[in-house]
Symmetry: C2
Subunit: 322 residues, 2 copies
């Protein structure tokens, strides 16, 4: 059983957890385009590969999969999720399973406005969103939305990093400087993160870890606490099944006076996953079990304790003359 982790970057813990789960029964191989990606040095073996956008990228990855007899491949960065999904057949032909969701779902999850339209259509609570600022101004006049709001790129990144906006003047300035911006209702509630595993064989949600995010530093969630709520578990199961995600996903949710609003989905291991793992929600094991051809049993609500706090801090890795 060999696993390939693409674009490993600084996700040392994810690589480390796979190594620990395989425990010598197989190899973990990692790739990155930079030799300064510390996570590759946690793997049993690593490859420095071309940029994801390079024409020979996919050939390089397929070659590695064949040479290393890779059973399952996954990526840790958003833009690569669609690429893997699109080339699923190529991987399947050489016996490598793509651990992830289908192409259309990856694309939708990357585009905050498309995601909003889907959520609205399927009647999930979510933040009102606008691509057209005139529609937004109209709703402000009608009292349907109030400042502050978030202004952010619907996909990719903007040149100006403002997010919370308090007046029309600033909305105008931002729209004058950048294309592809979206105005989004500011949800004033408790932020929640969910690390979810959807069995790749049965298609059932088999593990959900939920945590309340505790904001201690500007913009960065570096502390969180685990909790359990059956109502939230049910909502997540319904949403994930209706959308059709597979494998590992990460969902951002807001709790506003007891009502859950779905904010964003990353169909990959999220940055906060180590909290789940350290509390017992070992999704590496579920992946390996699936790759071995076995369905996983549902352990939702049973594989971690609530009230466990996570505190992030910086670790460093040193390397000579790279």
């Amino acid at each position: 059983m060999n696993i390939l982790i693409l674009s490993a970057g600084t996700r040392n813990k994810i690589v480390e957890y796979f190594v620990s789960t395989l425990n010598g029964t197989g190899k973990v191989i990692a790739t990155d385009m930079s030799s300064l990606a510390p996570a590759i040095y946690e793997a049993d073996k690593y490859y420095i590969v071309p940029k994801m956008t390079s024409p020979d990228y996919m050939d390089t990855i397929i070659d590695i999969c064949q040479k290393e007899k890779i059973d399952g491949v996954l990526s840790l960065i958003d833009p690569e999720l669609s690429l893997l999904a699109k080339n699923e057949n190529l991987f399947e032909a050489i016996g490598t399973k793509v651990i992830g969701s289908a192409y259309d779902l990856c694309e939708m999850s990357l585009d905050k406005y498309q995601m909003y339209l889907w959520l609205k259509e399927h009647q999930y609570k979510c933040a009102k969103s606008y691509m057209d600022k005139m529609d937004f101004y109209k709703d402000v006049e009608n009292g349907k939305i109030t400042y502050p709001v978030f202004v952010k790129p619907a996909r990719g990144s903007a040149s100006i990093a403002i997010s919370k906006v308090y007046d029309k003047e600033t909305v105008e300035l931002l729209f004058a400087h950048d294309d592809g911006l979206m105005i989004q209702e500011y949800l004033n509630g408790q932020e929640i993160g969910a690390d979810v595993y959807i069995d790749m064989i049965s298609g059932q949600v088999v593990s959900i870890f939920t945590k309340k995010k505790i904001k201690m530093r500007a913009g960065e969630t570096d502390k969180a606490v685990s909790f359990k709520d059956d109502k939230l578990f049910e909502l997540i199961k319904k949403f994930v099944s209706e959308a059709g995600y597979r494998g590992q996903i990460d969902i951002d949710i807001f709790d506003i006076n007891g009502e859950y609003y779905i904010s964003e989905v990353n169909p990959r291991f999220g940055g906060g996953y180590p909290h789940a793992y350290e509390c017992g929600a070992d999704h590496m094991n579920l992946i390996v079990h699936n790759l071995e051809g076995n369905k996983n049993e549902c352990v939702v609500g049973k594989n971690y304790d609530d009230g466990i706090y996570m505190m992030k801090y910086n670790e460093i890795m040193i390397q000579q003359n790279r």
Copy 2:
């Protein structure tokens, strides 16, 4: 030999390095106002203390110093540096040395505009800075400065997080939203960090670690490489002696076509110090040696190798029911 580290926060490595340097010959005690500060759990013992601005804060810290027979105390956060310096006599009276610079220097270092005035007066190359936007506009007209520029609070933090600004319209918007803003020339060069130790007995610079910062993520220096340049070492020695810093400081510098510009000083352990330590620039040892009453010999240029890369990544700590 007992050391007290105040406001330890997420600086786990700093606490760990002191524990390792003392190696059982003394205790490292850490404090924080939050039990969710992971660094306190690396210490031999910790105290949860009131907010730094609370009226009984200083009494609490003095009590801890007496009870734990603390030889040296230091803080890891900017606003506390002046507080410690101001109360140096209180600590001295109970046999505790404040590891840090004098009050006026701490205050100047916190205020980017005061620092600029000092650097200009003492003829160091640095970024042109303006508190008055009309002076700035005049210099733009005269061709003395061009966009983009940085707009940032001279001290403390602003409500809007824009920094790089490309036009007058945006300068006007930012100044309308926030007080205490400063316009600063954008230095387009190689960013450098220097971790410097100034002997607390002799007043001489005894160790300098310099690194080139390699930016890989928006706004965050998470990779760097060590280097040595005698010209830079001499500039740092001259600047630090002229200003009169003591103990550990961190300097931000720009290399623009071979000329060094001084940008900012933090008179404390900087966030990037672990790179220096892991390369051999052990300043914990210099501190302990000073606290034992011994002068340190100058090891500038001799205590680390160049070409050593540092790569940052996230580590987490888990705690139940705090």
